[in-house]
Every structure is written in C-alpha cells, then in structure tokens.
Amino acid sequence: MDISQFFTSADLFGIAPEIILTVTALSVLTLEMLHVSRPGIILMVAALGLFLAGALAINTSGDEQILFGGMLVLNRFSVFFDFLYITIGLLTLIFSQGYLEKRGSASRGEYPALILFAIIGMMLMTRANDLVIVFLGLELLSLSLYILVGFLRHDQLSNESGLKYLLLGAFATGFFLFGAALTYGAAGTTNYNGIVTAITNNTILSDTYLFLGIGLLLIGFAFKVALVPFHMWSPDVYQGAPTTVTGFLCTAPKAAGFGALIILFNRAFVDIHYQWQDIFWILSAMTMTIGNISALIQHNVKRMLAFSSVSHAGFLIMGILVLNETSISAVLFYLVVYSVVNLGAFAIVSAAEQEERGLNLKDYRGLAAQHPWLSAAMTIFMLSLAGFPPTAGFVAKFGLFSAAVSQGYIGLVIIAVLNTLISIYYYLRLVVNMYMQKEESTLILSYKMLAIVFVGLIAIMMIILGITPGYLLEIVTEAASTVA
C-alpha cells in the first residue's frame, strides 16, 4: 500500500510549526516535572519554541499549499494569522511574568504550555479547509482556555468563571458541531471545496439542513467571538479570569474566530454569503451598540475592557458583512492593532492589580503623577482603542468604515461612528482619572522590566503605525488577496 496517497513529507513540513509548538509545550511540562520551574527558564524555552515556529511558518509562506488531502490549506492568510497568534502568545507570556505569583498561585509550567496548546489550536482553525479540522482546533483552543481561565485555583471568582466558560463553551461547541453535522448532511462533505462544489452544482440534498447548518455554525462562532446576544459569558469570564489570561482571551481567540469565519464564508459558503448579510448587519449593529452602552456604566476596568472588546467584535463583523479584499485587509489590520493594544492595556492593568484593589477606575486617580510613562502608554492605548488619530486605531477604523461605505452600508457606518463617539467617553474616563483627578494614587505597580519595555514598544508602534501605516497595510493587503 502506498502511504503517499494519505500523506506526504510535504504535509509534515507544512505542520512543522504545530509540531514544534507541541514539542515545546511538552518540554516546558518536562522542565516543570524536573522542578526546573524557574519562570525565566520556562519563558525562555517557550519563547524559543515560538520563534522557531514563526521561522518555520514564514518558510511556508510561498504559494498556496494544500495539505493532508485538502484538510489544511497554507497560504499568506494563514501565515499572517500564525504570526499574529505567536506574537500574542509571546507578549502574553512576557506580560504574565510575576503575575501569577502575585495572585497567590505557584508559578507552574502548565501556564505557558496551555498557551502554546491554545496557539496550536488557533493555527489549525485558520489553516483548516475542513469543518472537522476547525472543530478540532476550536476544541484544543477551548480546552486550554477553560483551564487557563480557572488557573487561580484558590480564587473563587476565577473558579466561577472557569466553570461558566466551560459550560457555555460546551453549549457553543454543541451548536457548532450540530451545524457541522447538518452541513455534512446537506452537502455530503465537510470539506470546504466539496461544499462549494455541491452548492454551485446544486447537488445539495436538503436546503433546510444547509440553512440550519450555516445558522448553527454561525452561532457557534458568535459564541466564541462574543457577538450579542451570545456574548453574555464574556464579561463574567473576562472579569474572573487572571488578568493576563483575559488579555490573551480577548485577543487571540477572537482573531482566530474571525479568521476562521472569513475562510468559512469566503471559501465554503461564498455563493450564499449574500443571503446572510441581514443577519451580519443586525449582529454588527447590536454587538457594537450593546457592548458600548454596557461598557459605559462599568466601574471595573477589566469589565469595561471586556465590554469594549464585545463592541470591537461588532466593528469587526462589518468586515465580514462586506467580505471583499478591502474589507478583509481592513479586518486583518484592525485585528493586529486591537490585539496588540489590548494586550498592552491588560499588561498595565495586571501590573496595577492588587489583592483588594487596583481594578476600579477610581484606583487610577492621579496615577500619571507617579508613573508618567506608563500613564502615557495607557493613554496611547485608550486613544488607539477609541480610534483617535494619529494612533493606529484610527487607521484601522478608517479602513473598516471606508470598506463598508464603498459597498453602500451607510446606515451601519453611521451607527458605527456614533458608537465610536460613545466609546470615547469611557476610554477617556480612564485617562481623565489618571491625569486630571488630584487625589494621590496609592497604587503600587509591580512589573518586570521586560514587560515595561514591551509596553513602551507597543505604544511607540501604535503611533508609528498611525502615522505611517504603509508597511502593515502592504502585509495585510497581500494576506487578504490570497483569500479574496
């Protein structure tokens, strides 16, 4: 029997980043087993693995490759996401230095290992060309996240949010799996190419099944990226999870969800995408509005950022509503900016967090006098999230809005702009608290030098990207052109 009909060495090379990351995660666990759990060493090993995986990913960034008989597709788009995950993972690990100990949990090798496993899952999601692979990736990601969310075993909130996330995640997985099954029933295959062929050749067995399947798949994703009304879990979970995990949770899985959603609707359901535009429209409008209004009344910084991330998902859905090359590249740009800025903001929040306090807006009063550089960085992050020029956030929002306007979604863009205006209020509230309130801040920030260096780098990058977005725009346009 010939093995090459099942898979070839090219397939193995294709998934080399995943293999490397698996080996790294196992080595990290081994180090922990051998009681070499000095955080620095573990971080170094994990970072090495991530770098190696990134190098191998870029190695495969040439032409489009189809692996494992059509299960995985490698192209610029997937490589772009690989890099995004790796960057987010690396930043999360750097920002987590010392945080878990501060919150009373032993530093353990499981933490980086779980993040690495989550990255593998996400890589599979955006490389997938088959619903089964998406499901596998999604599960690997979700299982890692369930544990990460509940990582602070002695913290009741963390435990609660872990359980909530597990239950609702399982609920969402049910939707997704059911959707995949119905799609399989209708199209006779779970492969994207097969599905699109079945739709174009009109060999769909049952239109109802397909319709239900797409709907349920969409809801499965809607849970994962927290679209209204499937977002209810996110504030509770984001608030309860360790802050550094929250940073990871509201960036990378969201990116993976949107990436997979783009591929799904652009490759498998490309011909019937237009039938779902009303739903996307409503989801987008509702998500951004309800997310923003809820964020407005929050006093807890983590919860505010959680709701703000819900509203950002609403903006991002606009790109999937339009779904052409411009809008996809805008989504990619937005994801990069949003992810990096959020990580930076959560890094500062996690530095300020203490046992009893450090999470309320009031605690930030007068912080600027004590920590002018960190406050300046936080201001840049907030301005970037609000979409002020000359930060990168402005360019990102501008790209998305102009992509939507060019396809005639004027009404939605008006809603989006109004929402942006609302969002300025609560983003700037933090800034006002830091700078303009006279009260002495008693927060004692604890941070590692490395983390601060990266926070500063992110802040500078956001300004640079706001002024000269050209380089990143080029990359995202190239990535988007391979799927559009």
Partner: protein
Amino acid sequence: MAENYLPILVIFVLAAGFAFVSLIITHLVGPRVTNAVKMMPYESGVDQVGKTRIRFSIRFFLIALLFIIFDIEIVFLYPWAVVFKDFLSAGSFIFFEMVVFLAILAFGFIYVWRNGALEWE
C-alpha cells in the same frame, strides 16, 4: 432493508415485556412485611455504618477521569492494529507513528504521576 432489523425489535419487545410483567406479578402476588430491619439497605445481617449520602473524595473523580482518558486513547490502537499489515509493505512508518502516539500518551502518564495525581494522600 428496515425489515432486517425486525428480529431485533421483537427481541427488544420480548425482553422489556418479560421484565415489566415479572415486576408487576411480584408486586401483585408477593407478601408485604415492613419493619425497621427490613427497610435497611442490607438486610442480610450487616449493621449499617453511616448514611448513604456521603461525600466522595475528589480523588475518585480524578482517578476516574484519568482512567477514562487513557482507556479511550487505547481504543485508537484497535483500528491501527486492523490496518497494520496493509501498511507494513510501505515500511515501518506505521509502527513509528504509533510509537509517537504512545510516547505522547506515556508523557502524559508520567506527568500525572510525577505531579502526584495518582497518590492517594
């Protein structure tokens, strides 16, 4: 095609019917004596030591969970064994593939062991 399954249905109905009928008959014809001793969980003479509703140690769940994980992983060995001979002609790849799989499994086992999840106290 569906009629091929008819015998199964018949057996199912017969089995269920037998159980149901015997329960009803014992209920109807059996004598009923109720006293304290008779209502005890074990009426064969062993004294009860405590309540039935006790808390189990979380370790039981941990052990059970670990057992299930490893047990289910082992299931993958069966299909592998079935196609093993067909693939052997293409070299020893299929053998080493399972070695990798088992190695990862073994790693998990060692990890659990080293972290003390299998120790009772």
